[in-house]
């Protein structure tokens, strides 16, 4: 009997010890499963439509507006900027694989040379500075327009964010995950408090969207902004809402958060740029 008890206790310890550290892949599976179970009537790809996957009334209005998207002029400007040569004769296309066409689904990516997460917007500015141009201000303006144009060339491609077998990449991913689940600001809210635990519920008149699919449609044109904004501009809005101090554009914490959040949406199609309220 004693022997049986000892065996049982040993096995229990092993079972408890195994799931202590989940891999990014396991995290992604449980993250996506959470939303698929919570909203079993919604197709996985439809989460790429953000809040409009959950709120039919809002979706009807959004679809009616989609016949004449409010961002068309800005998107054309983004294309023109993308194709305008720098002073040295080089172009954005020279800095990206496949001449910058259809690459959105691979960003953010981990750069093993610098040991940093590189978002698409950071890569765009790196391209500029490499060719002697000034970096553009982050989060909105011309940078967001170029990024939106590049996203438009990836429409339908599926997100395929990689976390290479590099300790620094794992650390960046874990730091992003920690940021996402940590409560912050005077209101003591984490990203997950709204977008996981209370997803689909109302905050005042707004439906809280699922984080699955959050990065797929950025940069977005928000009516509130009357312009394109990057995902990090949206992080700012969330931080302000919980009374936390927003970070600088491309701050390490924001890039890590974007890395984690986009990895969680791996497999979903790129459908940016899109419009939002």
């Amino acid at each position: 009997m004693q022997r049986l008890l000892n065996t049982f206790l040993s096995l229990s310890l092993i079972v408890v010890a195994i799931p202590a550290v989940a891999t990014p892949e396991q995290n992604k599976e449980s993250f996506q499963k959470f939303y698929m179970d919570r909203f079993s009537h919604i197709e996985k790809d439809d989460f790429a439509n953000g809040v409009y996957a959950l709120d039919q009334d809002a979706r009807d209005q959004w679809e009616a507006m989609s016949d004449f998207p409010p961002f068309e002029d800005d998107l054309d400007e983004g294309e023109a900027l993308f194709n305008t040569p720098f002073a040295n004769g080089k172009q954005y296309a020279d800095c990206f694989e496949n001449k910058g066409q259809g690459v959105r689904q691979n960003y953010p990516q981990f750069d093993s040379k610098s040991g940093q997460v590189i978002t698409l917007e950071l890569a765009i500015n790196n391209c500029r500075t490499q060719h002697g141009e000034k970096a553009l201000p982050y989060k909105k303006g011309d940078l967001a327009k170029v990024s939106a144009y590049m996203a438009s060339t990836s429409k339908g491609e599926r997100f395929d964010i990689k976390i290479p077998n590099d300790k620094r990449a794992q650390q960046a991913y874990e730091a992003g995950k920690k940021y996402y689940y940590s409560k912050r600001g005077q209101l003591n809210f984490s990203c997950a408090n709204c977008h996981v635990q209370n997803v689909g519920r109302k905050a005042r008149s707004e439906t809280l969207s699922a984080s699955l699919g959050h990065p797929t449609h950025f940069p977005v044109y928000r009516m509130k902004w009357e312009s394109f904004g990057t995902l990090q501009r949206r992080f700012d809005s969330c931080n302000k809402q919980v009374r936390a101090q927003p970070l600088e554009g491309q701050a390490k914490d924001y890039r890590n958060l974007e890395y984690f959040l986009t990895y969680m949406s791996n497999g979903l199609p790129v459908n940016g740029p899109a419009s939002r309220k």
């Binding site: 449980s30 940590s182 912050r184 600001g185 936390a244």
Partner: protein, 101 residues
């Protein structure tokens, strides 16, 4: 005649608030303390966006020679910065409890 006066004095002592008027030096010290705490919460990555405006209000009050208000704003800023540091310490230990079950 003496007794009512003594009683009144005693009552005034009992119910006095004990507030000491602030001078410029104490207000500046309070702002310095708040600024140090704010920097700590910034370093931890948990700065609240309510603290800097309070410090700015305190600085404006000093410029207007309103040292009582300056001290009050600075003390409030310190309290909030301390809470944000407490939040950072708490989340360091407990953030993973927010993971989906």
């Amino acid at each position: 005649m003496l007794l009512p006066l003594l009683s009144l004095s005693l009552l005034m002592c009992v119910f006095s608030t004990g507030v000491i008027a602030s001078d410029k030096q104490s207000a500046q010290a309070a702002i310095k303390k708040a600024t140090t705490l704010l920097q700590q919460s910034k370093n931890l990555g948990f700065e609240w966006n309510t603290v800097t405006p309070l410090i700015l209000q305190a600085q404006d009050a000093i410029k207007a020679n309103d040292f009582d208000n300056a001290t009050q704003f600075a003390v409030k800023a310190s309290q909030q910065a301390k809470l944000s540091i407490q939040q950072a310490e708490n989340e360091e230990k407990n953030w993973h409890f927010n993971l989906p079950k």
